[in-house]
Amino acid sequence: MRSWSIKLLEPKMLATIALLVFITLFPLVFHEGYYLHIMILIFIYIVLVESWNLPGGFAGYISFGHVLFFGMGGYTTGALINLFGISPAITFLTGGAVAALLALLFGGISLRLRGSYFAIATLALAVTGKFVITNINALGGAEGMLLPMLLWSPEFEKIPFYYGTAGIAAVTILIMYKIRKSNLGFRLLAIREDEDKAEAAGIDTTKYKVIAFIISSFFPGIVGGIHAYYIGYINPASNFSILYSANILVMAIFGGIGTIGGPIIGATFFVILSEILSYTIGGQYRLVLYGIILVLITMFLPNGVISIKERIGSKEGRIERSFLD
């Protein structure tokens, strides 16, 4: 058994520590709101993509409707703050719980469907959810709602959101890492490789798929709430925008489906890229480009950017088989 001090000196560990220090100190150096805003978006997307990756990457159940959980989180927070005056911290968690409950209800039914049909069912659910919210007048209908702002000086108002989203992102990554190494993780991989065989081997596939789906909805529910409170405004068109689902897919596939590092790479790369692109070319050209990237990656680099290292030949020699093989 290796002791902690040796473990600390491993390159991977050193890099992680360096990254943590960098993220902690970042607001002290770059205190302009703009940089913090970008970082907050990166953290939010890391949470979204890492969670999507649990049923999507590990179990092979691609969801086109993950925005639903994000949107429900936002609306739970909006409704609880505006209609009942409840403190934000509680509403964020409630948002996660509402999303998880929805995942339990929907997952139990829809996860019997396989592959493409599950994907379409999730899309259907997300669009239906958007319609329902749009038609509830108490939630502001299509206009949406304004949320009270955090009463901090403008100079510091982004700081709590920065550390908040960073914390959630770290927790999400850690939990996904733990799941990856756990029995649940192996069972999900077995489902991805061959669901019929997994079932024949005595794995209660539906149960584990639903568990994965619930976990994967909880975190988007939380960041959906934080995002709503951060932006200070929610409406169905933007909080339930299919764009979130599209972004999640592109980021996950670009980074590498079914890995822990892939979503982090994908989220970071695409948030920065989309910022650069929104200055240079319009939003629509950006989405055309995303579409092209999505097509090219699935055709030529199905395991994502993270697999480049393995393609060249890593020392670890451990090549993860992706279901896109």
Binding site: L113, T128, F131, L287, G291, L294
Partner: protein
């Protein structure tokens, strides 16, 4: 209304039935049909119903290209890879349409606008009646093509048993290419007709996706007769919903029917029961 849904959905059903590909870019290609007719009617001055004669071959080519350039290369991999690549196609096409024609609402103006034929007290709008006529023609042509031509027989053989068809000398790759072309051409017909009846904008295809997929799933995957039946059912339920509950709920109907069908009877009304999806 159900008639147009039938044309929109039959292409999707055909693609699934023969190639087993879930063509999620189908509805965005219907939008392309809309805009092509809009452009032909507005800038060139072609009668919108005649413009169908141009949208059909154009969309056939687009469909064939999507198969040739993307889908055929992914056919060896799992279906999910194709699905993801087609999601990329959705993003490309939707936003290209938005760049070319803006994301605003558009409508095709034609001489048929606002005209109606009165049968007793019942007024039937002329464009809708003509649209129904066109869908009937398209469906009959599709049926005759599949039934009586050599290619049609090859398509049906491939849909029943791909391996055996291949052994018997059917060029499966060519069949798939033609199926993608025909299905996308049907999307073009549906698009031109939708454009004549309704106003439209590029992102509308997400809503149609609900309609078209619920038609296909309700009818039974791969069953074109089922799709026609389901299209009429969904058209009627939608009309009833907008009449009794409120127009704003009508777009949700299709999605709710889709969800219920997937839960209760995933093989649809006329689909093969043993099919595991």
């Amino acid at each position: 209304m159900g008639g147009v849904y039938a044309v929109m959905a039959s292409g999707l059903s055909l693609i699934f039935g023969v190639t087993r590909v879930t063509q999620i870019a189908h509805t965005v290609l219907i939008i392309v049909g809309c805009y092509l007719s809009f452009w032909l009617a507005g800038s060139v001055g072609v009668d919108p119903f005649l413009s169908i004669l141009i949208t059909v071959p154009s969309l056939f080519i687009i469909g064939a290209l999507i198969y040739k350039l993307i889908v055929s290369h992914l056919s060896k991999g799992p279906p999910i890879a194709t699905l993801l690549a087609l999601f990329g196609v959705v993003l490309i096409v939707e936003n290209m349409v938005g760049i070319l024609w803006s994301t605003d609402y558009q409508a095709i103006y034609s001489i048929y606008q606002g005209r109606a034929i009165n049968i007793g007290n019942l007024g039937i709008s002329l464009p809708r009646l003509m649209a129904f006529g066109v869908t009937a023609i398209a469906m009959v042509l599709l049926f005759l093509f599949l039934r009586y031509t050599e290619t049609g027989r090859a398509i049906r053989a491939t849909s029943q048993d791909r391996e055996t068809a291949q052994v018997l000398g059917v060029n499966v790759g060519k069949v798939f290419l033609i199926v993608f072309g025909i299905s996308t051409a049907l999307a073009g017909v549906g698009g031109s007709l939708m454009g004549i009846i309704y106003s439209f904008y590029p992102a509308l295809h997400w809503q149609w996706m609900g309609v078209v997929f619920s038609v296909v799933v309700l009818g039974g995957l791969g069953s074109i007769q089922g799709a026609a039946l389901a299209a009429i059912i969904i058209g009627i339920v939608e009309s009833l919903t907008s009449f009794f509950i409120g127009t704003q709920w009508a777009p949700a109907v299709a999605f709710i029917i889709l969800l219920i069908t997937l839960m209760v009877r995933p093989h649809g009304l006329l689909g093969a029961k043993e099919e595991r999806i």
